[in-house]
Structure formats: structure tokens, C-alpha cells
């Protein structure tokens, strides 16, 4: 009897991307993984009787905490700047940004789930949030247990200690490649100067936001000097290690920041040097400079750009997962020994 549409019941959870959406449905005798693309749907079935294991793993929380602290710091600095200057428009914008961040934080993916069958192991992309994953796995678990002949827990535990024979003949695994020398690994590790540079950019953004909202503007040389320090902190490790030693998102953050902050730094430097020679300028030039100096939206926009660049860079360098994982010890696996 083919399943009709009404026989599928949607499971909690889901993951949406720009042109892709993943959902999981409970069928009469199988779980249906549905990947909706823009103009088509792809299906994959996992029969309850074939499910060997369901695994879910939480994502590391350290990187999330760092991102939260950065966001809280930026918001606090902006709130202090707003309170000291009392700008309702920027306060409203900040509230909107804070609400958007809170919404994204609530919808953040914090776990990964897989289903293992005799054919292979497939990720269940819709079970990417711990709470919904727990509820969905409980529902699948109930049906998978009902569909399979139960084994007593002690027998299951005993059986797991002995790995089942493989269904195909395996050949001896090739010898492991020699380990890379430690010095080479150290040289591939991105320099901490990048993090310091982005921290300075964050401080520059906060300072710019403060000075943009508190007229008259003071300390004209702080920004050019800050830009120069930032550029130095970016370019020195780049020259020493090269761009190939930093991975995609980090390289993008570094190069984008150098281009944008470099342009803004040039502008800030010319602004600061021209400020010293205002007396010799003609009336029209002085008027244009005065108009630019009082254009609060322009300065706030620049501060926002700096803050976004800094947050992007810090997140790229602090949140990236470091590959590795030691091989010491003899951890148990699903089969009781490390046979994979």
C-alpha cells in the first residue's frame, strides 16, 4: 500500500537556507527526509527496520559564548554612547539590530544528528537544534524499536563489545602518512596579530560611534593612528606567513578589512592633516568640511562598518574550529572498539 500524503507527519525541527530547506517526516514504515530546493523536492527514506543507530551531537559552546560576549560588548558600548548623547533614531536602530541578533541567536544551530543504516550514514540536517532534535529522535526511536525485534539491554551491551563481521572483505589499511613536523604546524597556525588587529578595529568602531554621536568631535588624531596600527597588525603577519596559510573566511575578513579600513584610514589621515591648515583654506572649502563634520549619519555609518568588520574578523579567527583531536587512549565506539 503506497503511503498517501496524509500518512506523513512532520517531525519537529527544520533547517532553512537561502534556496534550500530540509524537513523530516514520519511515514508508516519509514522516515522521509525532504530537501526542498527552489523548484523541486528530493526525498530520502530510512526504513525503521533498517535503522542501526541515531546519533546527535551538540556543537561546542565556546565559540558561541565568544560571539555573545562580543555582541554584548558592542551593544553596551553603543548604549553608553546613546545615553550620553540622547539620539532616539539611533536608539531605535540599535533596538532593531538587537532584536535581529536575538532572533538569530534563538534560531542558532546547536547540534548535529545522523542516522546510520546498513547502507551508510547520513546527516539529518533538519535536526540541527538540540531541543527539536531530542523530540524528533524520541518519536523515531519509538517506531524504530517497535519495528525491530527487541534485544535485552544487557545482551545489547554485551553484543556491542564484539564487533559484527563486516559484510565485505576488507584489505589491510595503508600505512599512515608521516606526521608533519611541529614547527611546520606552528608556522601554519594564523598569527595572533590578526586577532589583536581586529580588536583594535573594534575599539576604533566604538570610538567612532561615540565621537559621531557626541559633537563637537574631539581627538582628531586617534582615528588615523588607530587605522595605521590596524594596518600594521594585518600586513606584518600577511607578509610573514602569506595569504595561503589562512583559510577562506579568515582570508576574506583580512583582505576586506585591509581594503575598507585602509581607504577609511587614508580619508581620516587627510582629514586630520587638513584640519591643521584650515586657516589657510578658502571659505567654500571650510564650509564643505564643516558640513561633512556635522553629517552624523555619515559618521555613524562608518562606525557601523568598522564594527561589522571587526566582529566578522574576530568571529572568523576565534570561532573557527581547529582540526585535530588526539589519538591517545582507546575509546569505545558503537561497536565497542575502534574499527573505523
Amino acid at each position: 500500500m503506497p503511503p498517501t500524503r496524509s500518512e506523513y507527519k512532520r517531525l519537529p525541527g527544520g533547517r532553512s537556507r537561502l534556496f534550500r530547506r530540509d524537513r523530516l517526516y514520519l511515514g508508516p514504515d519509514h522516515v522521509l527526509l525532504v530537501r526542498s530546493l527552489s523548484f523541486s523536492e528530493e526525498y530520502r527514506r530510512f526504513y525503521y527496520s533498517d535503522i542501526q543507530a541515531l546519533v546527535s551531537q551538540e556543537r561546542p559552546t565556546r565559540s558561541r559564548r565568544i560571539a555573545d560576549w562580543i555582541a554584548i560588548g558592542v551593544a553596551a558600548a553603543a548604549v553608553i554612547a546613546l545615553f550620553s548623547t540622547n539620539h532616539p533614531v539611533w536608539g531605535s536602530l540599535l533596538n532593531i539590530v538587537a532584536a535581529a541578533y536575538a532572533w538569530l541567536a534563538l534560531r542558532r544551530e546547536d547540534c548535529k544528528s545522523w542516522v546510520q543504516t546498513a547502507v551508510g550514514t547520513a546527516e539529518l540536517p533538519s535536526l540541527c537544534r538540540a531541543r527539536s532534535a531530542r523530540r524528533a529522535i524520541a518519536l523515531i526511536d519509538e517506531r524504530a524499536r517497535a519495528a525491530q525485534t527487541p534485544l535485552p539491554p544487557e545482551e545489547l551491551a554485551r553484543a556491542l563489545e564484539t564487533p559484527p563481521p563486516l559484510p565485505f572483505q576488507t584489505t589491510a589499511s595503508p600505512p599512515a602518512p608521516p606526521a608533519l613536523p611541529l614547527a611546520a604546524e606552528a608556522s601554519r597556525r594564523p598569527s595572533r596579530l590578526y586577532v589583536a588587529g581586529f580588536a583594535i578595529l573594534l575599539a576604533l568602531g566604538v570610538f567612532k560611534m561615540y565621537t559621531a554621536l557626541s559633537l563637537p568631535r574631539s581627538f582628531p588624531w586617534v582615528m588615523p593612528v588607530g587605522y595605521l596600527v590596524f594596518l600594521a597588525l594585518m600586513i606584518v603577519p600577511l607578509l610573514r606567513q602569506g595569504i595561503r596559510n589562512i583559510r577562506g573566511s579568515r582570508a576574506a575578513a583580512v583582505l576586506t578589512s585591509i581594503v575598507i579600513a585602509g581607504s577609511m584610514g587614508t580619508y581620516a589621515l587627510s582629514w586630520a592633516t587638513s584640519a591643521t591648515s584650515r586657516a589657510t583654506q578658502d571659505a567654500n572649502t571650510r564650509k564643505i568640511y564643516a558640513m561633512l563634520e556635522t553629517a552624523t549619519p555619515l559618521h555613524v555609518g562608518m562606525a557601523v562598518v568598522l564594527l561589522l568588520l571587526a566582529i566578522w574578523g574576530l568571529m572568523a579567527f576565534l570561532m573557527a574550529e581547529e582540526p585535530g583531536g588526539g589519538t591517545s587512549g582507546t575509546p569505545l565506539t558503537l561497536f565497542g572498539s575502534d574499527r573505523l
Partner: protein
């Protein structure tokens, strides 16, 4: 869809995930929590037998292989099948002929479906935004909406609201062009 690395490996540090009986939450060495639920199917071996030959007279034989012993009956047509012909289909046992027939008339083997209603909706809205395109795009949107009603639908619950909306929008756009044409002709005559 792409197969992932075995779940027994932590996706953060690539170490093996320790197993705890009963699916209890355990921590990987990198500190990330993991939970593994294991089912009896993990111990089931695949049957790779080509089917045993008939040993004694009077034993049931496979429908397709007369010299092989039948191990089951097809749940759909009732024919006896040997270990080679036996196909497990969820909780049912089918013979190859029934699987072939099922492929044509059932949703159980469908791997993908085209969403004509989405196509119609995008075409209709796009042509409404860029109105000059609607002269060509609106009929296409109407065609796609009608196709969406006739084509096999999604396996999962999905309303036809998109197709109805695209059909309405497409008809309105075509009506707008007809009205414009009539208006221009009338104006030219007057």
C-alpha cells in the same frame, strides 16, 4: 544527498564517540556532548546467499529459479521466491517483478518531484514586478499553474495555494494586457 562521515566520529575533533548503554548522554574527549541510540538492526547481517538448491522432492521452489528452494512468498503477488529473488521492502517481502511494477505506480520509489506551483508563482510575481515581461511570462505562469494541478504532487502535505495564486495573478496580467490592447484600439479608432 551526500553521505557524511560515520557518526561514531566526533564532528569537532574527529575522535571516536564513546558509547553509553541506553543512549545516555556522553561527552567526547573534546568536551562536546553526544548521544547514540543503537538498535538491533546493527547486528543484522546482510543475506548474500544466492539461494539454496532443492534437496528433497516436494519442496517449494522459487518461481523464477525452479531448482532453488523458496524461502518466502511475495506479499504482493504470492509467488514463492528464493533467497536471491527475495527483496525486503520495509516490512514487506516482494519479488523482483512486483518491485518493477511498483516502480511505475507507487510513490515508494520516488526520489524527487518538480514543484511546478513554485515555478508558476515565481514567474507570476516576477512578471508582475517587471510588467513588460508579463506579456510573455503571464501565459507561461498560467501554463505552469495548470501543470501543477495535473502533475504528481509532493509526497508530503502541501497545499495548492501557490498554484491558485499564480493562476489568478497570471490571468489578471493577461487581462490587463487585453484591456490595454482594446483601450489602444478604441482610442485609435476614435
Amino acid at each position: 544527498m551526500k553521505l557524511q562521515p560515520p557518526p561514531t566520529h566526533c564532528h569537532v575533533c574527529l575522535a571516536t564517540i564513546p558509547y553509553a548503554p541506553g543512549g545516555a548522554l556522553v561527552a567526547c574527549r573534546c568536551g562536546v556532548a553526544a548521544r547514540a541510540l543503537v538498535y538491533p538492526a546493527i547486528f543484522r547481517l546482510r543475506s548474500e546467499s544466492a539461494g539454496e538448491l532443492i534437496q528433497t522432492e516436494g519442496e517449494a521452489a522459487c518461481f523464477a529459479h525452479e531448482d532453488k528452494r523458496a524461502v518466502a512468498a511475495c506479499d504482493s503477488c504470492g509467488r514463492f521466491v528464493c533467497a536471491l529473488c527475495r527483496i525486503e521492502w520495509g516490512s514487506r517481502v516482494l519479488c523482483p517483478a512486483c518491485v518493477n511494477a511498483a516502480e511505475k505506480r507507487t510513490d515508494l520509489l520516488v526520489r524527487s518531484r518538480t514543484l511546478y506551483d513554485n515555478m508558476a508563482l515565481v514567474t507570476a510575481i516576477g512578471s508582475a514586478i517587471i510588467f513588460t515581461l508579463s506579456l510573455f511570462a503571464a501565459p507561461v505562469a498560467i501554463y505552469l499553474a495548470i501543470r501543477a494541478f495535473k502533475a504528481p504532487r509532493s509526497l508530503v502535505p502541501r497545499t495548492m495555494m501557490r498554484a491558485w495564486f499564480a493562476l489568478g495573478l497570471g490571468l489578471m496580467e493577461v487581462g490587463g494586457w487585453v484591456w490595454l490592447l482594446v483601450f489602444l484600439v478604441m482610442k485609435a479608432r476614435s
